[in-house]
């Protein structure tokens, strides 16, 4: 660590509401969200070093920003004025204070908007730490000695699945010299959103195949006959040489999930994602048994490590998909991955939304280099919408993710995108058209 900068402290914090009008072209539409406007609360944590600004983002589908914004502002009290030294030394205690805030915990606990807001704040701290070390977040973590890393992690209420000692042994057993730090990490493309036309879908698939992308995912869950037709349509273009998965966004009940997957299995899906309600651990256990060898993937809406523990211990999933803006930051994500390692569950990155791609690439690298040391059967979700708004878009090479080189998470939005899409006073939203959209959507100002 650079000693001359060792008194780095948080000076002030800015919180912005950013909303992109993605519902205009149906991006993100699925069985449940018909008109999502990909949005985020964008947290900028300034420090005594003007070059080091920690960024945290919290993804919502538009109106969700209002609630998250209010919560983030309340929770900043936990980090104002802290030194990086204090954060690093006390990260677990600080994490616990933020997550269990005495006046907010009733409105979770550890779930929903509150936990998502906390995720944004906590990840901004990792961003500061990595920038201070002049490293991407994945490299910071790969370089941390296991005994230092373990002290940032929290094992409350999961000790029956994994203890701190077991976790340390897992970390210590990894021979990092065996990993390829310039790895290409396989990706899949989420295409076939509910609102896309066949023409649009064809264009996207053909372009992606040319790019070398070998994995694809389609949305299901509106109407089983249409789902079958769409699967056939996609298989005709991508053939059976590429991976195709399916995502029901939780709209089926247990029986429907089993029945419908029996109809869809002819298209050889690698996994079905969220076949039923994301909180229904017991039904997931039954579905996983019933539709074998199709894998059951879930986790993007799994709120916390305690719920993940139950899915992982009891075979309620066969692929884990964590969301780094839903779990309370790297600290909580990491212990979920350690449970996966112990119980032999592969990680396939959930991504999309805003900033999830940027943060997600780091998770892939960390899982590969510090935990699983494998990419077998693993695919990271790749969605390229909105990347034009990022200063450091993720790099895809021959259909694979490259380890990011930008410092921290590299999740900085471009200044001009912030000026354009900040809500409600960005350039886009103050036009006559923008104002009409706000009015039609009944967004609260």
């Amino acid at each position: 660590m650079n000693q001359c900068k060792s008194i780095l402290e948080i000076t002030h914090i800015s919180v912005k509401d950013i909303r992109f009008h993605t519902s205009k072209n149906n991006t993100g539409s699925d069985a449940r969200s018909k008109d999502p406007d990909y949005s985020c609360i964008y947290i900028q944590v300034y420090t005594t070093d003007p070059q080091i600004i920690g960024i945290g983002t919290v993804f919502t589908l538009g109106r969700g920003n209002s609630g998250v914004h209010a919560i983030v502002k309340e929770q900043l009290r936990h980090i104002r004025g802290l030194s990086l030294d204090y954060i690093i030394t006390n990260f677990n205690a600080l994490w616990r204070n933020i997550v269990n805030d005495g006046q907010l915990c009733w409105n979770g606990p550890e779930k929903g908007m509150l936990h998502q807001a906390n995720a944004g704040i906590i990840n901004a701290l990792w961003d500061i730490w990595a920038k201070y070390e002049n490293k991407p977040v994945w490299k910071l973590i790969v370089d941390l000695p296991p005994d230092k890393l373990i002290n940032t992690l929290n094992f409350d209420h999961i000790e029956d699945a994994i203890t701190k000692d077991e976790a340390l042994h897992i970390l210590e057993a990894v021979d990092k010299k065996q990993t390829d730090t310039n790895i290409g990490y396989p990706v899949y493309l989420t295409c076939g959103w509910s609102g896309y036309s066949n023409e649009k879908l064809t264009t996207i698939l053909q372009q992606s195949l040319k790019q070398g992308i070998t994995g694809y995912k389609m949305k299901v869950g509106n109407n089983i006959e249409n789902d079958c037709k769409k699967a056939e349509f996609i298989r005709d273009i991508i053939s059976y040489d590429n991976m195709l998965s399916m995502d029901a966004n939780g709209v089926w009940n247990k029986e429907e999930a089993i029945t419908n997957m029996n109809k869809l299995k002819q298209y050889k899906p690698y996994w079905i994602e969220e076949p039923t309600h994301p909180d229904d651990i017991i039904s997931h256990i039954d579905i996983t048994k019933s539709i074998y060898p199709i894998k059951v993937a879930t986790g993007e809406q799994c709120s916390n490590k305690v719920l993940f523990k139950q899915f992982i211990q009891n075979k309620g999933l066969s692929i884990v998909q964590t969301d780094i803006q839903r779990l309370a930051g790297i600290n909580e994500w990491f212990v979920v991955m350690l449970m996966c390692k112990k119980y032999n569950i592969p990680f396939c990155l959930h991504s999309g939304g805003i900033g999830l791609v940027n943060l997600g690439v780091h998770l892939c690298m960390i899982d590969y280099m510090c935990i699983s040391q494998s990419t077998e059967g693993r695919y990271a979700e790749y969605i390229d919408e909105l990347t034009e708004h990022y200063k450091y878009p993720v790099q895809l090479e021959n259909g694979k993710y490259k380890p990011p080189k930008s410092l921290g998470f590299g999740v900085e939005l471009k200044e001009e995108s912030i000026l354009e899409y900040e809500f409600p006073n960005g350039k886009y939203w103050i036009t006559t058209y923008g104002k009409k959209v706000i009015k039609d959507k009944e967004w609260v100002l």
Copy 2:
């Protein structure tokens, strides 16, 4: 229904942030919340009839109000301008639209602040309906024919535990003539908050015994030796003739819960409440088995019917404690109670906070008169703090709740209490002292 009023419509809606400074005297302090300031978002839904204003409340511990306030305002779009006729006819579809709002569902789903905000809005609609019928909510529901009541309920994702047809049969099998509509419903008092002195506790217990209250609950979970001493202290006053339960507020892990309850069992607790993390269904199943015959009670932080389904089907609890400001209104609470009936789990009302007592009495009456027809082994939580702020405080007679007579839920705050405690401009908060409290608490204005 009164035909001449049949065009009742929602005209406008007011949403207020109300905060009481309860941390001043440690009310509500427990193992996790050291300085709760009981607060609520107070929703007033005005109609074309000036006599009919639907009230909905969402309880928080203070700062939580900021987030809930923002969400409630976004969600009002679902009910603006609706007629009561439309609401009654389409209550299930309306419930589903509110709960699964396409731009907010990502920030749940069905949990946390979002679900709590929805609860407040949905219960305000029941309040309107009951007031229109000139009845308390419990009486409205008791008088509804089963085939009409069932259409307000939602069975999505719980059909594997109970179908709509099964539910209807349960409702039709109840002979309401067998119920005592003037029943006295047994209560218990939550005393022994973490922050209370022995002197204060003694006074409260002695007064309550004189009132005829036969059930008591103490907080545990800070330090097991202190917990044992406090249990002994309370048993010395209330003797073993009265019911004593314990509440750990989820701070233990599974092993600690079993070990500590083995130490506390000498004080013969009727139940242990939230022995571990409220989302940990599997650990609750193990604890329930291990500490029999002490009952395991949980539910006040159980987010939705899908989680309750798993607890109920798999014996993860032996007493169910729903929170009517956490589940999305009477509609969701009712299906949870129907599952309890089918699986033979008694309901003991969770209460406290703000407005929960007022709403809760209705739940007791509905459970007794429409579903279980029993009060055996059932105790409703009684907390008398803050009742002075309500126009229609609940009536306790010989240590038992009386069926409320006020219209709707009777959850109206007194005008002077609103003027005093509205945040941040109520009379209490604009004093020099109030401003200092706000500053010390770092509440965001």
